[in-house]
Symmetry: C2
Subunit: 219 residues, 2 copies
């Protein structure tokens, strides 16, 4: 079932042909509506109406609301694996690898943030086993970035940065793009990707050579 679903989502992601698989249309719309209203605030009826079906008709294609959510998240995680992690693994130089990770992840988000945003925002909607699965894969991704930062530290290009904190911070910067980026905004997707990538690299390099006089009082 999951393999079938993922195939459908994959077809949905490449919205090329008109009336492909019906299932693809369902997953695509579900991801869009979950993204816009949130998982819990979205009813099965909302999704059914969006694809021109009744609720009962929709259940011919899906197994349940939670399975729908898990399928969308698994697809997003697969996307991340294929479009970000695997390409980056093939890059030897840690700095170039880091650039690859940030640029590719950011690009995925500017292209279509629905599934990837659901992936990070709706974890508590999953069944415990599914949640464990997704959290594990997310954790692997952060570890991959942290390992890259550790490699940079070993090269002497990064000093005094905790790799884990660094990895989380970069991920936060990237994920937040989906909250403010608009395709019809002042900057186009490529410009945003480039800008964020430059910031990310700067964030981990060239540290300790500027003022440190910030007010850190309590009030």
């Amino acid at each position: 079932m999951t393999a079938l679903d993922n195939a459908a989502l994959r077809a949905a992601a490449t919205a090329v042909d008109g009336e492909q698989d019906r299932r693809a249309e369902i997953y695509r719309n579900a991801a869009r509506i979950f993204h816009r209203k949130g998982y819990h605030a979205t009813s099965i009826n909302d999704i059914a109406a969006a694809v021109g079906l009744t609720k009962a008709g929709l259940y011919y294609y899906i197994k349940g609301k939670q399975d729908l959510l898990f399928a969308i998240m698994s697809f997003a995680m697969d996307q991340l694996d294929e479009q970000v992690i695997e390409p980056a693994r093939r890059v030897q130089d840690p700095l170039t690898r880091l650039e690859t990770i940030v640029a590719r992840h950011a690009r995925l988000i500017t292209q279509d943030s629905s599934a990837l945003t659901i992936l990070v925002n709706e974890l508590e909607g999953l069944l415990p086993d599914d949640r464990t699965d997704v959290i594990g894969r997310q954790r692997d991704y952060v570890d991959f970035i942290a390992d890259t930062l550790a490699a940079l530290r070993d090269e002497g290009k990064v000093v005094g940065l905790d790799p884990t904190v660094g990895a989380f911070s970069l991920v936060g910067m990237i994920l937040w793009i989906s909250r403010w980026y608009r395709a019809d905004g002042r900057l186009d997707g490529d410009e945003v990707v480039a800008e964020v990538t430059r910031m990310a690299i700067s964030a981990v390099l060239n540290r300790g050579d500027h003022s440190d006089a910030g007010d850190r009082g309590t009030g």
Copy 2:
């Protein structure tokens, strides 16, 4: 009503005395549960049970679920105003001001992220008018950071950075702390705040003096 609610939340935030105002306990628990399970997944019964009341008893103190959410968000925004924005406004030097913003915002999150996290994650649960209000205040905050970055650019300390993208990226980095920071983790709150602040400053300074060879292909 809102003024009263905020007073209660303020009391709740300083969890010093034992059986202060009952209302404070309600808001504190509501924020905690909204934070953990999400607004829509939290029932009024959940909150009532957490404070040892029945649902009807709880309604003696609150006006409704949406008002509760708005009160929590308004409190969080007030916290940001008082603990971050106002202190930072009194700092003249843009770089020091930026450090103040990041460090104080990050500190607020490591201390108690509930309300601040709800503030950014549950916007769609608000009534339209309330949402407009909150989004406006959030936008003002980002503009404040962007203005600070623009001032740094005018000083020549920052080159080639879009202030708006920069501001959003820093905010994303800061907000994400609430997702990974654990008070009982390897690093304590102050260490995390310092680390993130250093990254934030690095992210906007010292740009353009490193490799630019990242793979930005599509796969």
